[in-house]
Structures are given as structure tokens and as C-alpha cells.
């Protein structure tokens, strides 16, 4: 994943899911379903290949267990967003916001 390139849908939603807390695979899947209003439904195959890609790009890291001891499941690997991942997510959101602004303006124009 080169700097400046846009994220894939699955990578974007995974980063978004990790933006507020560390999560394990299944938690990420559930959160992606929730935040995309059920539009993005990943299977474990797509989830873990994307996680591997994000790990290699340094956008996330694997962490030992969960910070919240009650939620910690030792069978799981937990993932955390890195500083680089946070900036990638922020620039992707900025790009989307910009596109949305343009789309809204054009819709206003065509409505006239």
C-alpha cells in the first residue's frame, strides 16, 4: 500500500473499526457490518488477507490480548491502529468528504 493511494473498501472499514479500540477478527467483522449498515459483509478469507496487507503496510499492529481484561480472549489475536494507519484513514476520509462536497454541489446545480 503506497502512501497517497486510496484504500480498498475492506481496508477502509477495518481501519475505521480499529479507530476507537483494539479488536479481534470477529469483532472487526461485526463492526464492519454495523458501520456499513450491512452493505459490506466480509468473510474470514477477505478479512485476514486484508489484515495481513495492513500489517505489512504498517497501518495496524498485532497486540497481546485486550486492554480490557474482561473482554480479553487468549485464543485471539487483537489488532491496533498505528499512527500511520490513523493518518491513512484520516486522508481517506478527507478524500471522501471532498468527493461528497463536489457531488452535493453538482446535485444542487442539476436541481436548478
Amino acid at each position: 500500500m503506497r502512501p497517497g493511494t486510496s484504500l480498498t473498501t475492506s481496508a477502509f472499514y477495518i481501519l475505521l473499526s480499529l479507530s476507537n479500540q483494539d479488536r479481534h477478527g470477529y469483532e472487526i467483522l461485526k463492526d464492519v457490518m454495523l458501520s456499513s449498515a450491512g452493505r459490506v459483509m466480509m468473510g474470514p478469507g477477505i478479512l485476514y488477507t486484508t489484515l495481513k496487507r495492513l500489517l505489512e503496510a504498517g497501518l495496524i499492529v498485532e497486540v497481546e490480548g485486550h486492554a480490557d481484561a474482561d473482554r480479553d480472549d487468549s485464543r485471539r489475536r487483537y489488532y491496533r491502529l498505528t499512527h500511520q494507519g490513523r493518518s491513512a484513514l484520516a486522508s481517506e476520509l478527507e478524500r471522501m468528504e471532498q468527493a461528497l462536497k463536489v457531488a452535493r454541489t453538482r446535485r444542487l446545480h442539476s436541481a436548478r
Partner: protein, 194 residues
């Protein structure tokens, strides 16, 4: 805590074989765990689950490293075009020889060599099979060129042409596999020697 192993879980285990061994060594346990939880989730319906499985299968099979490089596609297509040129030249010089040539062991030898070359070049069995497929697809258009240039179409209709193509593909797949296995093995041998 133990989980019941359903038939869908067993099928999913087979789907995981589409992923590379190194990847499975790293993530298979987690992937199975996540799939098991999806199975137990009342909000995820069986049809949705089958959709997930099919998408994961397609994702595993269509990994970028499995697709042929542009260079391999170009080179293989060029070999296919050379085969067409030879066939057309043979047809032009010795009309009627086409049928005789196509059923001789020439394709068998050619596709063994093609598989071997592709596998050696990419260091993978898949590379050899891609080479055979591309050469086969390009060279199979010879029949259409024959029709255009010489008015020859050795089939009754489109269906018998399709059947002929399938038979030819069946005939070429075995030498392709043999060549690809040999090429991949030779690459491994070369790698261990280095």
C-alpha cells in the same frame, strides 16, 4: 468449550485450501474460529453464509500472485500467434494437411514444452498452466482464420466446433500438467543448487 462441527464448517475447511500454505499456517486457526462464530450468529442467515463462503473461495483463487504477469501473457500470446502462422502457412502450401497435422502428437509435445517453459519462467506450476491456457486460446483461433482465408471450416456447426475445442483442450491439458510439474520441479532444483 467445544463447538459442533457442521458440514458447512467442513466445506469451509476445504475452501481454505485455495489460500497459500504460508498464509494458512499463519491464519487458518483464526479464520476457522471466526467462521464458527458466524455459523453461531443468529443474525447471519444460511444464504448469507453461503455467499460469504463463495466470495472467500473466489478471493482465494483469484489472488494477484496467481494471475499471469503482463510479460507472460504477451510472450504466450506470441507463441500462440506463431502456431497460427505455421498452421496457415502449412495450409497455404499443402492444402488439406491441416486435419492431418492437428491430430498428430505435435500438440502433445508442444503443450508439454509450453507448460515446462511457463513453469520454469515463473517458478510455479500455475505459471505453466497459464502459459498453456493462453497459447491454447490464441492458437485455437486458427480454425476461424482458416475459415476467413481459405473457406475451410472442418465442423458442421458452432456446437461441433465448441465440442472440438473442448476435446482439443482435454487433449492438451495432460501434456500441460506434465510440462508444468516438470518445469516447477526443475525450478526448485535450480533454486536449491543456487
Amino acid at each position: 468449550m467445544t463447538f459442533p462441527v457442521s458440514s458447512l464448517e467442513r466445506v469451509y475447511g476445504l475452501i481454505l485450501l485455495a489460500y497459500p500454505r504460508t498464509f494458512r499456517d499463519q491464519y487458518e486457526r483464526e479464520m476457522r474460529l471466526v467462521f464458527r462464530e458466524l455459523l453461531r450468529d443468529p443474525k447471519v442467515g444460511r444464504i448469507q453464509l453461503v455467499g460469504i463462503m463463495l466470495r472467500d473461495l473466489a478471493h482465494g483463487l483469484a489472488r494477484p500472485e496467481r494471475l499471469p504477469s503482463r510479460a507472460l501473457v504477451v510472450r504466450s500470446s506470441m507463441y500462440g500467434l506463431i502456431i497460427i502462422a505455421f498452421s496457415l502457412a502449412a495450409q497455404g502450401l499443402h492444402p488439406g494437411a491441416y486435419i492431418g497435422v492437428s491430430v498428430t502428437p505435435v500438440p502433445f509435445i508442444a503443450f508439454t514444452a509450453a507448460g515446462f517453459w511457463g513453469a520454469r519462467r515463473t517458478d510455479t506450476f500455475t505459471g505453466g498452466m497459464w502459459t498453456c491456457l493462453i497459447i491454447g486460446l490464441v492458437s485455437s483461433t486458427t480454425v476461424l482464420w482458416d475459415k476467413l482465408l481459405f473457406g475451410i471450416f472442418p465442423f458442421y456447426d458452432a456446437w461441433s466446433f465448441l465440442l472440438g475445442l473442448l476435446m482439443a483442450a482435454g487433449f492438451c491439458i495432460v501434456p500441460g500438467i506434465i510440462g508444468s510439474i516438470a518445469g516447477a520441479a526443475a525450478s526448485r532444483d535450480r533454486a536449491t543448487r543456487v
